[in-house]
Amino acid sequence: MLLKELSEARGVSGNEEKVREIIREHIKPYVNEISVDSMGNLIALKKGDGSLPIKVMLAAHMDEIGLMITHIDEKGYLYFRPVGGIDERILPGKRVLVGDKAIPGVIGLKPIHLLKEEERTQIVPAERLAIDIGAGDKGSAEKVVNIGDYATFDVAFQELGSRRVKGKAFDDRAGCAVLAELVKEQYPFDLYAVFTVQEEVGLRGAKVAAYAIEPDVAFSIEGTVADDLPKEKDVSPTTRLGHGPAITLMDRSFVAFHPLVRLLVEAAEAEGIPYQFKQPLVGGTDSGAIHLTKKGVPSATVAVPCRYIHSPVSILSLDDFENTIRLMKAALKRLRPEHLKIE
């Protein structure tokens, strides 16, 4: 299963090579051209039959959040800084893999026996935490780890309950896996499937890829926040697991192009695919960079709801995942020039 392979692959922002190679091998038989640009974006072109002479860009980001080693102390502990949006509360006690050699380590913490009363309610900032790789001293740590090495969470992909899976980095390996399916279809337009880099540190890959491609329309495919656990108040769950792909109306980074939102809704309704709208103004995606490229690009975002994203482990529904593929196929099939214009 590609989703499993991608979830377990290690690729923090700026170091997406392993993910890129898995995707490249997987999509090669289905596309006409593959290139990697100077930032590391993987750009695959699947030519259309010429009946709809437009360029459609689909973007999913390969990078995941993680840690970067910044300092090794005399005792061989590795100090680090977060890469991307990491909640410091969830770091202590987690298992990680460090560097290209995937050296196992643990983010250390003071045992509860020794905690003072006030420490029990305090969050330890990331810069005071350290990774213990079992090295006895600085010299032996330096043999296997360098400053600037990335660390990822050490989490196995696993099926859970009924039609649900857990794993790391579903944001946005879920989107990558959706996109890898979409390139198998034939379309009337030129499809640019772009697996972007460095989304988690500021939509950087998408920015240059969109500039080079100059698409007529773009969709970002994401793994997004599902906050559907019981709450004290009757307020928005952002998205709900199992309720279908989430269509973005607007988030912090962009306002979805209205005719494309209508296209997605019509496609879902015509083919009986469940869908939901993501809570407006939460998060941001590659569409934020793409839509402001050059003269502007009509853009939309569709996402697989995932619980606990930006933590070591997230959970998604395979039904939502498969329905996201169905929804995108249905929408791309119905895409017409009138969806690219507003009056």
């Binding site: 009757d234 307020v235 928005s236 109306l249 607007m250 962009f254 306002v255 192009f257 209205h258 709208f277 809570q279 407006p280 103004l281 839509h291 402001l292 050059k294 003269k295 502007g296 690009v297 009509p298 690219l340 214009k341 507003i342 009056e343």
Partner: protein, 330 residues
């Protein structure tokens, strides 16, 4: 002029849903320009051709601040977030209006401490719905403040002077401007309140020689106001700098010269917080000499903004004079 301002301020057009205000502006300018188009973000771009002069981009944003519904609860109450700089202390008891005409009242939950301003998580909108199913507003719908224009002598009070007053000035300018040597790209931009987004793509597409934004600015003339040397009624302000841009000194100087030659009162603006479309235009492509005409405005981003009509009329005169010159920067 007042009729024009009334129509523009009272029309619905929040950031992210500018269709209705765009239609109104299109109607207002279509017979007076040579070309009219809408770009991929929704900017309305009108071209009034000159006779071999420069390419000038004049920008006023048509979007206004608003609130977006993020949830409809079981009882039919709406939870919401801010579209642009909307502040909770301006909200409780106020009315918002949606595109379909539905009006809602902003209510507040029981407060833990009444002397603290409640955050958005404590506020909700009541449109009088009895439950979720019958609620006439849905997730993603955007509301704007519901307020008619009031005229009191020279002072005008309305919602959305930011930046419908800039739109009004550009519409008036298009009507009155004769014998301008320059190609004028009059751009009514979208999503300024969400990060100057419309200006980014329209300026790229036009690639002008000069950019001028027309927008509102704060004043320092109200009780205990933060210090600022701009007052209502003392003339349009020529921007020196704001939080994100320094005006091109040559453009600023040409604007000052136009005001002085025409005997128009003006003020110089140094704004500490906030910015305008000019900040985006200036950094487009290789860089574009850009300046700003600002209309002094009290209570910006509240349901009741206040401007002085004389400042508005003088801004039209100033721009008319500036654009009639061959020399757009000195």
């Amino acid at each position: 002029m007042v009729e024009l301002i009334k129509a523009l301020t009272e029309t619905y057009g929040p950031a992210g849903n500018e269709a209705r205000i765009r239609q109104l502006l299109k109607e207002m300018v279509k017979d007076k320009v040579d070309e009219l188009k809408v770009d991929a973000l929704g900017n309305l771009i009108a071209l009034k051709k000159g006779v071999g002069g420069k390419k000038v981009m004049l920008a006023a944003h048509m979007d206004e601040i608003g609130i977006v519904v993020n949830y409809v609860d079981e009882k039919g109450f709406l939870r919401f977030s801010a579209m642009g700089g909307v502040f909770p202390h301006t909200l409780v008891g106020n009315r918002v209006e949606f595109e379909n005409g539905v009006v809602g009242v902003i209510g507040v939950e029981k407060l833990d401490s009444p002397d603290k301003v409640p955050g958005f998580d404590k506020l909700y909108i009541d449109v009088g719905a009895e439950n979720r199913e019958s609620c006439p507003v849905k997730v993603g719908d955007i509301g704007v403040f519901s307020r008619p224009l009031v005229v009191q002598g020279n002072r005008l009070i309305a919602k959305a002077f930011d930046d419908r007053i800039g739109c009004a000035i550009l519409v008036k300018l298009v009507e009155e401007l004769k014998d301008c040597p320059h190609d004028l790209y009059i751009v009514f931009t979208v999503q300024e309140e969400l990060g100057l987004r419309g200006a980014i793509t329209s300026a790229y597409g036009i690639a002008p020689d000069v950019g001028i934004a027309v927008d509102v600015t704060r004043t320092g003339d109200t009780p205990e106001a933060p210090k600022m040397a701009v007052s209502l009624g003392k003339g349009p302000a020529i921007k020196v700098k704001d939080a994100r841009m320094v005006s091109h000194p040559g453009v600023r100087q040409a604007l000052i010269r136009a005001a002085e030659e025409e005997g128009i009162p003006y003020q110089l603006e140094v704004l500490e917080g906030g910015t305008t479309d000019a900040a985006a235009i200036q950094l487009t492509r290789e860089g574009i000499p850009t300046g700003v005409i600002s209309i002094p405005c009290r209570y910006i981003h509240t349901p009741s903004e206040m401007v002085d009509l004389r400042d508005v009329e003088n801004a039209v005169r100033l721009l008319r004079r500036y654009l009639s010159s061959d020399e757009l920067w000195v």
